[in-house]
């Protein structure tokens, strides 16, 4: 168990910057998720921590020890790969025991720890099989088993659930959350799926183009996104982002037929006429509300207890999505009044920074 600190970490490949001056502190016992679209450098960052890539600049500290120049095999970490990377010529038992045998632990200890890991992951009946004889979910569990027997300082997970089908993914997500509670080891986890990030993390790091966009707990990021990118990336369905300009104490929405809403409470007013972005979460919209936009329903998606409504002002460009409870009688073509409170509005300046 250890905390992780990254200090001004950079990685350049052939003059191209893959991760750029990343500084980050992951407390001991945290479940830290790196999330971002593909190509944002999250996997590279993980591989830098694992020692599979060499840092171009900066430092990596695990439990206070500077491991930047330490080879992967001396870092005392464990990693679960996207492909699982099970050793195909070994049985499940030997796969799980591999790290312990590499560390030359005595054989009775190895056997005991393998049995313990197998019990935690319900792999007891599969120990004598080869990886080729396992299903995707079982291979996933073996890969996790291989990581936990080591009792490493840090667990690294590289998109571990992306090769599983939807049902199994939800199941393994719960298993991972349970495992983290049970073991208490610090986890660094990479995914492009913001739902995984929201459900698993105690700390989310949103990355874009090799830079950290925002760090915080899932609800911090959801409630108080720092910028347009985080606002659009975190939360499902996505936050509505509408073009807006200030006129007096109101915001005019040209994409919604020129309707206007009052300004949310701000410390400093943006200049009039500057193109702004107004954010409004689909969950914040309901039939009632102090403020409202008059729209016409275009598509209705019934989810059972809730309904996703996609609507726009007549003859306007921007589609507004609302997640409303009930809504069984809604149908396309009906007028829809999207109600909300001013507190639910987020305002972003032209560069995408949040105005508070």
């Amino acid at each position: 168990m250890a905390d992780l600190r990254l200090e001004h970490l950079s990685k350049r490949i052939g003059g191209h910057s893959v991760t750029h001056d990343v500084s980050l502190s992951v407390p001991d016992g945290a479940f830290c998720v790196f999330v971002g679209p593909s190509g944002c450098g999250k996997s590279t960052l993980l591989r830098l921590i694992a020692g599979l890539e060499e840092a171009s600049a900066g430092r990596i500290l695990v439990g206070g020890r500077d491991v930047t120049q330490v080879p992967a095999w001396d870092r005392d970490l464990a990693m679960v790969f996207q492909s699982y990377a099970l050793y195909p010529h070994m049985t499940v038992r030997d796969n799980i025991a591999f790290a312990l045998r590499s560390a030359r632990r005595p054989e009775p200890e190895v056997a005991a720890k393998v049995a313990e890991a197998a019990r935690i992951l319900q792999l007891d009946s599969l120990l004598d099989r080869k990886p080729a004889q396992l299903s995707g979910g079982q291979r996933q569990r073996v890969a996790i088993g291989r990581a936990i027997v080591k009792q490493p300082k840090l667990f690294l997970f590289d998109e571990p659930l992306s090769n599983l089908d939807a049902e199994l993914r939800v199941h393994m997500r719960l298993e991972l959350a349970r495992l983290h509670r049970q073991l208490g080891t610090t986890i660094v986890y990479v995914t492009h799926d913001q739902v995984e990030a929201m459900t698993l993390a105690t700390q989310i790091v949103v990355l874009r183009d090799g830079r950290v966009e925002q760090v915080g707990s899932p609800l911090q990021l959801y409630d108080a996104p720092d910028n347009l990118f985080v606002a659009g990336f975190i939360g499902s369905p996505k936050m509505n982002l509408l073009a807006a300009t200030r006129q007096g104490d109101r915001l005019v929405l040209p994409g919604c037929g020129g309707q206007s809403v009052p300004l949310p409470p701000l410390a400093a007013l943006p200049a009039e006429g500057v193109p702004l972005h107004l954010g409004l979460r689909p969950q914040a919209i309901s039939a009632t509300g102090a403020q409202s936009l008059d729209l016409v329903i275009e598509v209705v998606e019934h989810l059972g207890s809730e309904t996703l409504v996609h609507a726009r002002a007549p003859g306007s460009a921007e589609l507004v999505t609302a997640l409303v409870t009930g809504g069984r009688t809604l149908s396309p073509g009906q007028p829809f009044t999207a109600g909300f409170g001013t507190a639910a509005l987020y305002l972003f300046d032209p560069t995408g920074q949040r105005l508070r």
Binding site: G51, W73, A78, M79, F81, S102, K150
Partner: protein, 286 residues
């Protein structure tokens, strides 16, 4: 049923071709093998039962040749595979960056073995060869490469130098086909490169190792051209391989029946070895 007929029809041309190309000489070899034949009586062989086989098995030169071939095949196969494996693993990073280096490394394979033998004959010649010449000049001493005491080592080295690239090529392909994330997983699991080779890479390359050992053994066992052009049957028959024994019996001594009997014995041995090796590799793969 139609499926079987279709298979038969489709396979027929190949079977006929093989029968024509291989079958006729095989039948001829079998006929001569059980006949008393010389160049004078080629068209009217006289049946002599297993006399030729008895003669071959009683011939100490045959056993000497068999022992030579066995030793030569085994030693060169092991040397080539060990060297080829070491080279493949050591050079893999270089080859990944500069693929063309492989072309240079496999040049020896492209040279005709008979040419190779002649080349070594020139290079190693006791009086005219450059290698002994310079050894004498620099060290005042040179081994007699082609003398009875050293000739076996010389031909083993010559064969190994020529065919190591073949093993290298097989192992390079096998090494490169090991998924990179297995190596990375082993590294993060705390395994140093040396141990990683023995526990992950070598086991995954083992099927290729068996195949390479087998191919190189068979090739070494029936070696002919490079040894024959280098030293012939060798001083005191010391480099007489099975193939050279058959050739000499057939053409030098004109004992056609005996040569055929030896050829049949060689074929049967090779076939048994192949069957055994196949069973072993299949077991290893499982």
């Amino acid at each position: 049923m139609t499926n079987r007929r279709e298979n038969a029809i489709l396979a027929a041309p190949l079977v006929l071709f093989l029968l024509a190309i291989l079958g006729f000489p095989t039948v001829l070899a079998l006929v001569y093998g059980v006949s008393d034949t010389s160049f004078q009586t080629l068209t009217s062989p006289e049946f002599s039962g297993l006399a030729n086989f008895r003669q071959v098995l009683a011939d100490p030169t045959f056993w000497q040749a068999a022992w030579f071939s066995l030793r030569f095949g085994a030693i060169t196969a092991v040397l080539q595979c060990a060297l080829g494996l070491a080279l493949a693993v050591y050079l893999a990073p270089l080859v990944r960056l500069h693929g063309w280096t492989v072309a240079i490394l496999i040049i020896p394979m492209i040279v005709a073995p008979a040419m190779m033998g002649l080349m070594y004959r020139l290079v190693l010649h006791e009086f005219a060869g450059p290698l002994p010449h310079y050894l004498y000049q620099w060290l005042g001493w040179s081994p007699a490469f082609l003398s009875p005491a050293h000739v076996f080592k010389t031909v083993v080295v010559a064969e190994t130098l020529q065919w190591t690239p073949f093993a290298f090529l097989l192992f390079l392909t096998a090494y490169q086909s090991i998924p990179e994330d297995l190596r990375e997983a082993a590294a993060v699991d705390g395994t140093r490169p040396w141990r990683r080779f023995w526990t992950i890479e070598l086991p995954l390359m083992l099927p290729t190792v068996w195949v390479a050992l087998f191919i190189r053994f068979i090739d070494g066992f029936r070696v002919f051209d490079n040894i024959y052009t280098l030293v012939g049957a060798g001083p005191g028959g010391s480099t007489t391989s099975m193939s050279i024994y058959i050739y000499e019996t057939f053409l030098r001594r004109g004992e056609i029946g005996k040569a055929m009997a030896a050829a049949i014995l060689l074929f049967v041995t090779a076939f048994l070895a192949l069957a055994l090796a196949q069973r072993l590799t299949r077991k290893a793969a499982r």
